[in-house]
């Protein structure tokens, strides 16, 4: 089970993800342009994995924004318990988010399976 919270700040918009256990994460996915984002580690240790094999490990305060996450499938995995990351959406809050119900803005959920085996990390 992981946790996500929408964060608004003036024209900015981001989503904070919290991962209680090592191995939790955001399964391999890609985005439409309006969901383009970077990844900043806010606690613990976060690994960003690109489908082509590139990886970036992020400690608190470190971020990655040059991996073209719109056109490239990617996965985010916590390497330590109680890790978290903040994904800032580069284009602000997508218009399609305006009508989302409240329960979509701050919730816990069971994500799909992570592609990268935990043993390999």
């Amino acid at each position: 089970m992981i946790y996500m919270t929408h964060l608004h700040f003036k024209d900015g918009f981001g989503i904070l993800y919290r991962f209680p256990r090592r191995g939790d994460g955001l399964p391999m996915h890609t985005h439409a342009t309006e969901e383009e984002h970077d990844v900043t580690c806010t606690r613990g240790l976060i690994r960003v994995i690109i489908k082509d094999g590139r990886t970036r490990d992020l400690f608190p305060g470190e971020w990655v924004g040059d991996l073209d996450l719109v056109n490239t499938h990617h996965e985010v995995i916590a390497l330590e318990d109680n890790s978290s990351c903040l994904n800032i959406l580069t284009h602000g809050r997508p218009l399609s988010y305006v009508a989302l119900p409240a329960n979509e803005l701050d919730r816990s959920y069971e994500p799909g399976p992570i592609t990268t085996p935990l043993e390999s990390i």
Partner: protein, 239 residues
């Protein structure tokens, strides 16, 4: 030709999706006429095709001998996404409408008798954030004053699920007239809506589905609504 009771004089008056199928039908009629001339036939009835995409009363044409018919159910809606950001799950595609047809129905001396045609509403699009696609409503052709006709119907198509499964295949249509061929609607496939079923009168599915296709679910690349289903239809071809 008539579309929802409006007289169509040239193909360009039709919505583009009908033009290909109608052209095919016109060629068929031309072949029938040529054959009649070669055989020395003197019949005065001009073949008529009537397409209905809204409910109404269909009146049998005086002078016709047979009426080929097909009835399609309307498509269901596709599901919206659930989640947001990096946690978006696609909506399932809506199921397509079923189809029924049969041996051309004898209408000699039945000019002016009527059928009551009901074209069910399409399934609504599922809205992002947790809404399933809507089911479509059943369609039917029932005898109004028409004699010798057994009522026919095509059941609902199931909507795609939000953030999940496509709509399943529909139940078989009901048709006990001679030579009935009942085809259940196609299930959605992943985020794709169920495919429309090909027609035999109008040469359906010539590159694009014409009647009763299911609406697609929204993909997982972004938050979004599914698509509504495509309306079904009834076609009557009098010869």
């Amino acid at each position: 030709m008539y579309l929802d009771d409006e007289r169509i004089r040239i193909r360009r008056q039709l919505p583009e999706r009908f033009r290909g199928p109608v052209r095919k039908h016109q060629r068929r009629i031309r072949r029938i006429r040529c054959t009649g001339i070669l055989l020395g036939a003197t019949g005065a009835f001009t073949p008529v095709i009537s397409i209905r995409t809204v409910s109404g009363t269909e009146t049998s044409r005086a002078g016709a001998t047979t009426c080929a018919y097909e009835l399609w159910g309307s498509g269901a809606g596709g599901g919206g996404t659930t989640g947001s950001g990096c946690a978006i799950t696609a909506g399932g595609g809506g199921a397509g409408g079923g189809k029924t047809t049969g041996t051309p129905f004898a209408v000699t001396l039945k000019g002016g008798l009527t059928w009551t045609v009901t074209i069910g509403a399409v399934g609504a699009a599922g809205i992002a954030g947790g809404a399933n696609g809507g089911n479509s409503v059943a369609s039917s052709v029932n005898s109004g004053t028409m004699t010798g006709w057994n009522n026919i119907s095509v059941p609902i198509a199931a909507g795609g699920v939000t953030g999940g499964a496509p709509g399943g295949a529909g139940a078989a249509p009901t048709n006990t007239n001679a030579g009935a061929v009942n085809t259940a609607g196609n299930a959605g496939s992943g985020i794709n809506g169920g495919a429309s079923i090909a027609g035999t009168i109008t040469g359906d599915n010539q590159g694009t589905a014409v009647y009763g296709r299911g609406g697609g679910g929204h993909n997982a690349a972004g938050v979004g609504d599914g698509q509504p289903g495509v309306v079904g239809g009834a076609v009557f071809s009098y010869v």
